[in-house]
Structures are given as structure tokens and as C-alpha cells.
């Protein structure tokens, strides 16, 4: 991430933000509401155009990649306010996550060539193992629209993992979860990182979660980076404390 800037009309949402995310780390991104965290995420997944700066992933610029090409590069994400495919089942949602790893088109699908059947079996196998990993077996065939919020969040996580990401972007995974669920989530995120060997970039308001699982933390305020370092360093940073007006309140 090098000097990324985004403007919406006259409003500067991100102003020259730069930081690195090292492979295999969990990096937390914090900041008060409106600090630009989600904007930054949306730049990473190319939903927003960056006005300036560049985003490099494994040395190559993301800005040349179309929106639908991001998943295939190995960047998976979840959304702040759930963006599941509501009419589909849990299994189907997770299977869609694997879309970028398969390639059969309309013609092959219409003729249902052996390639298509093989791909489908692999996708189902993948989805089933993730459904098991995230403890969703009991709801696998239910429509996601009927699920409680916490479960739906796990479905989103499973869907993101189905794309075999190298970098996982989690946008407020703890929002709407109760205290106990947040604890489990922290363990789960670390478990995912260790088992699947991926890198996690996490936007989160829940301070204790961010501080307990992150290797590094980046703090934003008004679209600028105000601090970066280990959780302890960032927590002690005067600008961070000021931004949160005694951030211990969280």
C-alpha cells in the first residue's frame, strides 16, 4: 500500500496512506468511524478507484486488475454488513466462493461435459470441507436468509476461504457478535492463519479482539495513518489515544 488516496467529490476519504502487510501475519486496521478503514478495503478489492498511489500485491500493482480478477489473485474478503447470496443455501454460497478457481463457461455447462462434472465435484468437496471446518454442517442446506447473524458471518468467512486466498480481508468480523462469540472468533482467525498459512488484514472496532490477535496494528484517522506498530505500541500512541478520547472505553 503506497500513498493511497481516495476522494469522493470534495471529501478526502483516504490521504496518502502507506503500510506493508507481511505474509503470514495478522494485521489489524483500527480507527474511529469514518476514518477510512472500509474505504481502504474497498480499494483493495477494487470496488473503489484510488485517485492516487498504488497497491502492490506480491510485487504487482492491483490497479490494473479488474474487479472480478481480484479473487483469482488470491485476495478474499468478507463484508461489514453481510453480502451473502440470500436465496441460496449455505453450501451454494460457499461453492460460489470457489468460482474463481474454476473456469467452465456457458457452452460447457449447457452440454455438461465431463470437465464440468469433475469441477463441480471438486467444488462441492472444497465447500463441504470448509462447512465442516467452520461448524456449519447442521445448516449446510438451509437458505442463508433464514440464518442468525452470527452464523451468517461464518458462512461469509467460509465463502471467502473457498477462493483459496493468500490474503484474507475481514471487514468487522466481530460486529453483531456477543462476547462469547467474539472470543471464539479470535481463536478461529488465528487457527485459519496457522492452518491455511494465509495473511489476514482485519478491520475491527472491537479493540480487545484486534489487540489480542494482531501481530501489527495500523491506526487511521480522517483518512490518514496516525500510527503503526505492535499492538502495545499503537495502544500507547498519543494520537491514537486522542482519536479515541481515551480509547480504553472500548
Amino acid at each position: 500500500m503506497e500513498g493511497v488516496g481516495v476522494r469522493f467529490g470534495g471529501i478526502v476519504a483516504l490521504d496518502g496512506v502507506s503500510f506493508d502487510v507481511e505474509a503470514g501475519r495478522i494485521v489489524g486496521l483500527i480507527g474511529p468511524n469514518g476514518a477510512g478503514k472500509t474505504t481502504l478495503f474497498n480499494c483493495l478489492s477494487r470496488l473503489y478507484e484510488c485517485g492516487s498511489g498504488d497497491i502492490l500485491f506480491n510485487g504487482a500493482s492491483l490497479l490494473q486488475v479488474p474487479k472480478h480478477g481480484i479473487a483469482a489473485l488470491g485476495i478474499g474478503r468478507t463484508f461489514q454488513n453481510l453480502a451473502l447470496f440470500r436465496t441460496m443455501t449455505v453450501m451454494e454460497n460457499v461453492m460460489i466462493g470457489h468460482h474463481c478457481r474454476t473456469s467452465s463457461g456457458f457452452l460447457f455447462n449447457a452440454l455438461r461435459l465431463p470437465v464440468v462434472v469433475g469441477e463441480e465435484h471438486a467444488t462441492q468437496e472444497k465447500a463441504r470441507s470448509l462447512v465442516r471446518f467452520l461448524g456449519l454442517e447442521a445448516v449446510a442446506d438451509l437458505r442463508v436468509a433464514d440464518l442468525p447473524f452470527g452464523t451468517a458471518k461464518r458462512v461469509e468467512l467460509a465463502r471467502a476461504l473457498a477462493s483459496d486466498p493468500k490474503l484474507l480481508l475481514l471487514d468487522e468480523p466481530a460486529s453483531g457478535l456477543n462476547h462469547e462469540e467474539v472470543g471464539e472468533l479470535g481463536v478461529l482467525i488465528q487457527d485459519i492463519r496457522d492452518r491455511l498459512g494465509l495473511t489476514v488484514l482485519l478491520v475491527e472496532h472491537h479493540m480487545s479482539l484486534v489487540m489480542s490477535i494482531s501481530d501489527r496494528v495500523v491506526a487511521l484517522n480522517f483518512g490518514r495513518k496516525i500510527a503503526e506498530g505492535t499492538p502495545a505500541e499503537v495502544q500507547a500512541h498519543p494520537e491514537v489515544i486522542q482519536a479515541y478520547l481515551g480509547g480504553a472505553a472500548h
Binding site: S45, L47, P66, K67, H68, G69, I70, A71, A72, R77, F79, A83, L84, F85, R86, T87, M88, E92, M95, I96, G97, H99, C100, T102, S104, G105, F106, N109, A110, L111, R112, V116, E119, E120, T123, R159, S163
Partner: protein, 318 residues
């Protein structure tokens, strides 16, 4: 599976137990079923509304008619030709339509359907389209000395194509691309983030949808043996949309129910009241919408679910 086999069996026996005129009507119902399946892929599965599929129906019909009338192409060979023409036309229309959503897309497609009859009447095209007069076609006889009259043969010809088109649609809709179509309808931002090329999938869906409707148009022209600009007015497009919704959105079997509805309910209405058949049709329409808000396919699905539950309860009791 058993249900499908039984329906197919019944469909094969049908022309031998009903009159030639009824057989012709069922041929048209099959034609509509193909058209509705195409429109349902676009509107039901992919969430793009079209008030203009009558235009693709007309393009398919005219492609078949012109090829047969002007170039002496055999009737069966006009079907793939109509398919290709409409696939391309639909895809090209789908590209600019990507920028439009909901009611705006409805208006754009409406514009297409409303302007096409005028284009067909355009005098510079008259040498091909026959202008206002249209084109009269000959009814094909059964080949290979089959003991079928032309109506029966055309019914079986249409039935075979219908079965083929339904199998292809079923394969698409349950597969990778079908899931992608629904994902775009449900949540297009997430679909894109999952690596679905939404622009490509949406315009291809438009193309395939138009292709289905065009094939139906070609079959319809062969069955009716006549095409004229005024048989493809905006009413055709509206009726197709009615059929899709009444049959059941995002349902393959819904296309069959919807087709039977738009083919036979106007006849029934006509039989009830010669004076105001469309008023009767309107009452039928209101009744269906009110009683079956998920379409006929939705109502059937719920009825089957209720019956199986009851059967399970019965079995559970000692």
C-alpha cells in the same frame, strides 16, 4: 425423474387423442414454453427485467420466414440460424443494457419491442420482410414417410426441440454459470468480489435468453405458417412477462405452466364471454396472482412439500 418421464409420455400420446386443432394449440404452448424459459433465465434467475422479448421472438420468426421464403432453406435448418441471430442480437443489446437496472432496463427493452414492428414494415426492407403483408409459409409434411399428419409432425418436432432446450437450460442453471447468474441477482457486488465476471455473465445471459426466445419465434412462425409485423406488437412481450411471473420466477417447470396459461386461458376466457374476453382474462390473472403469489411452480412446490410432510407423519405413526 418419474414425474418428468410421465409428463413426457403424456406429451407423446397427446396428438393421438386430441383434434388436429388442439394439437396445433399444444404446439404453440411448447413454443411459448421455450420462450418463457429464455425470459425466465434473464428475469427470474439473473434479475434483469425485459419488457421487450417480443422483439427477439419476432427476430427469430422473421429469420426463419425469410430463410424459407427467400432462400428456400428447409424449415428445420432455420432453427439454428434463428438461434445464432438472436444470440448475437441479445448479446449486443445486453452490453449497453449493463448500465441500466430495474425499471430503466424495462423501459429500454420496451423501446426495442415497440420499435421493431415499424422496422419490419419499413419499405426498404420490404423485399425481404414482405412489409405490412408479411410472409406466408408452407406447412412441412412428416419426413421419412412417418404416418403423421403435418400438425402431429410439427408437434413432435417442436416437442423434441423443447426437450433439448430444457435439458440444456437445466444443465446451465444447476451448474457454475447458473449459480453465478443467481449470485449476481442476489448480491452483485459480492458476486464480483468472488471473481464472477458480472458484465460478461449478464450480457451472455441476455444473449442466451434472446436465443431461446428466438428459437421459439422460429418454431412459432413455422407452426402458424405466417409472419406479419402486427403479430409481434408490444402485447407479445407483455404476455411473455405475464407467463414468466404466473408460471413462477426462477423455476424451470414454471415455463411450462406459464406457457399453458398464456396459450389456453385467453381461449377459456373467450369461451366464457365473447363480449369481453379480456375482462375475463383479467379476472383469471388477478385470481392467479392472488392465490399463487409465487407462481404456479411455487404453489406446486408447496403442495408437494405439504403432501410429503403429511406422508412422513403418517409413516411415523405406528
Amino acid at each position: 425423474m418419474i414425474v418428468v418421464a410421465l409428463v413426457l409420455l403424456a406429451a407423446c400420446m397427446l396428438p393421438f387423442v386430441v383434434s388436429n386443432y388442439r394439437t396445433f394449440q399444444f404446439t404453440l404452448a411448447l413454443v411459448y414454453a421455450i420462450a418463457l424459459l429464455g425470459l425466465n433465465m434473464l428475469t427470474g434467475y439473473n434479475g434483469q427485467i425485459s419488457l421487450g422479448h417480443g422483439a427477439f421472438y419476432a427476430i427469430g420468426a422473421y429469420t426463419a420466414a425469410i430463410l424459407m421464403d427467400q432462400y428456400g432453406v428447409p424449415y428445420w435448418a432455420t432453427i439454428p440460424a434463428a438461434a445464432v441471430v438472436c444470440l448475437i442480437a441479445g448479446f449486443l443489446f445486453g452490453l449497453p443494457a449493463l448500465r441500466l437496472e430495474g425499471l430503466y432496463l424495462a423501459l429500454a427493452t420496451f423501446a426495442l419491442a415497440v420499435s421493431l414492428p415499424a422496422l419490419l414494415k419499413y419499405h426498404h426492407l420490404e423485399q425481404w420482410t414482405g412489409g405490412v403483408q408479411g410472409i406466408v409459409l408452407l406447412k412441412p409434411d412428416a419426413p421419412f414417410g412417418l404416418p403423421l399428419n403435418p400438425d402431429q409432425w410439427l408437434y413432435f418436432f417442436t416437442l423434441a426441440i423443447t426437450v433439448l432446450m430444457f435439458v440444456l437450460a437445466w444443465n446451465i442453471l444447476r451448474g457454475r454459470m447458473g449459480h453465478a447468474m443467481v449470485a449476481i441477482r442476489d448480491q452483485h457486488i459480492a458476486a464480483e468480489a468472488m471473481g464472477i465476471h458480472t458484465a460478461m455473465v449478464k450480457s451472455m445471459t441476455f444473449g442466451i435468453s434472446a436465443m431461446y426466445t428466438g428459437i421459439a419465434g422460429a418454431l412459432g412462425a413455422i407452426a402458424i405458417q405466417f409472419v406479419a409485423p402486427d403479430s409481434f406488437n408490444i402485447f407479445v412481450s407483455i404476455m411473455l412477462l405475464v407467463g414468466v411471473v404466473i408460471g413462477g420466477l426462477a423455476s424451470i417447470s414454471g415455463a411450462i405452466y406459464g406457457a399453458l396459461f398464456i396459450q389456453f386461458v385467453p381461449n377459456i376466457a373467450d369461451a366464457i364471454s365473447k363480449a369481453a374476453p379480456w375482462a375475463i382474462f383479467g379476472i383469471f390473472l388477478l385470481g392467479f396472482v392472488y392465490v399463487m403469489p409465487m407462481g404456479i411452480a411455487g404453489a406446486v412446490r408447496m403442495a408437494v412439500a405439504r403432501l410429503t410432510r403429511k406422508a412422513q407423519n403418517q409413516a411415523a405413526k405406528p
